[in-house]
Point group: C2
Chain length 333, copies 2
Amino acid sequence: MHASPESPAPPALDWLALIRPDLERVEGQLQREAVSAIAAITDINHYLQQGGGKRLRPALLLLAAGACGRAGGELAIRLAAIVEMVHSATLIHDDILDGAETRRGRPATHRKWGAQASVLAGDWLYMQSFRAALRERNFEILEILIELTQKMVEGELRQREMLGTVVAPAEHRELIERKTACLFAAAARLGALAADASPERQRRLGDYGRHLGMAFQMMDDILDYTASEAVLGKPVGGDLREGKMTLPALYAYAGAGAGERAQFEQVMRDGNYAGASFEAILNTVRRHGGLQQARAESRREAELAAACLPDLPDSPYRAALALLPALAVERES
Amino acid sequence: MHASPESPAPPALDWLALIRPDLERVEGQLQREAVSAIAAITDINHYLQQGGGKRLRPALLLLAAGACGRAGGELAIRLAAIVEMVHSATLIHDDILDGAETRRGRPATHRKWGAQASVLAGDWLYMQSFRAALRERNFEILEILIELTQKMVEGELRQREMLGTVVAPAEHRELIERKTACLFAAAARLGALAADASPERQRRLGDYGRHLGMAFQMMDDILDYTASEAVLGKPVGGDLREGKMTLPALYAYAGAGAGERAQFEQVMRDGNYAGASFEAILNTVRRHGGLQQARAESRREAELAAACLPDLPDSPYRAALALLPALAVERES
């Protein structure tokens, strides 16, 4: 389904339409993989699946496969389901550890099934993703997946250690890489692998995914300050309240005075905005250019992502990949 | 290191001495596999390793490999470390879910590092075991391991669902199989695999491990009623207090009157022996033959285990495997 080199790019590319039928096949695959001998696990999996996630990672994988000349292949569908399962497993465990009340506007898994069943359902889902990967009888896929999950778990633990503390932006960047970007990298890379792309092209698409993931997560952290609650679907300012100093806060903190710094610390210590209002914090973040610097860095990552694409042949899939970084940093939710 | 068929079995076989040097190599391997980029994970792993576990599963694997004619091979050492890592990962998560205070006489991991870090350290350890298995470039090993871990996680969840309830002994047996026996089965089978034994012999040794594990766990459940606290290293009667009706209780309950039954239910509901003393419960368990029936069943499993060995060539390793089932059901702690 390559566009010929002469065909002009559509004026407003509906990138989602390109892969909508494939994403539906991914849903079918997820449904099949969700079934356990233990009813509660199946229930939790289906609850998660119906939660209306954006399926960004499967979409990325499918687009990468398409851009490498093999749109809609069976292997890409199966791998897309696998990366989504990994993502779901991390969400279950993270929500428990965060004590999150909601996820995508509904009660978090552990609020409905309890922390105990949810820890185990998360374990099960990790293993199910490995089991599905094992069926492919391809060591490279397993290698990518196992390295990925371990890196993500290490990232989550590192985040716990950093809670309530102020770290250097570089250290925070490493955290984002582990928590978000390496799964985006794996998704894009596995898409290229599913299309039998050259190792070099797989690597480049992995880099694309990594930069896209960095841009995406930085923007997420910015939106936690700037979005409205209605748009975000959860209270703003949640990161700081949970003790997480993200880039906007870290950059502002670096330039802030002692009194302003104390406000950040108080919110993290109290776990609420009773002692220092969200408005006061947001003003500080703005005043010291925290949002501006974080946005600049997010855009830089988006540019680095786009720069990984030049050697791909022209196609609507490539055009979609070229569009995503800009969408990631210009979105409002 | 086969004994010739003529050599008589030693009068009292020191089975542990047979594999002591190999178990030390397993410790070295565990030490190397324990290292993560995140210090807390490495610390937790080393804490667990130094906890003085009995290394039953690695021992079983090493003996099985020896009995199949390849004692002390490198692959067996590595696989033995892997099964111990899987075992440790399940212990970490189970202790958190049980709210256990201690493990092997020391504070449980989550008492020292908190539940959050411990959940993640357990995740990491599962993944590290898969990663180590992946290095072997053998799909069969991965298959055994992933199926195993998923079955164990399902068993743990099933146990949660059954807490505080009275189930049929057959259902409890399935639980034991998932929680304990399938890891014993995998260990024995992997030992045979490491020795390049025939598929039939691998299967038979897997069955051996399964029956041994059943016998072992049933005896554990009996000891929770009959051992002294000093010998057991933890308070007796813990299972019932935690809401777990094991075989001795289930058999006794089946024959008990309404008043006696109410006592079991009260302990499980209260989570302590204030309303019905441990002595009263133990008397009921004895009176209705709960211990006797559970012991008989444990011995039956031990016999089934021993019956899986006949086709193995004579050797000290085979003799050790023949001895273990009896040891498992005659032990006092």
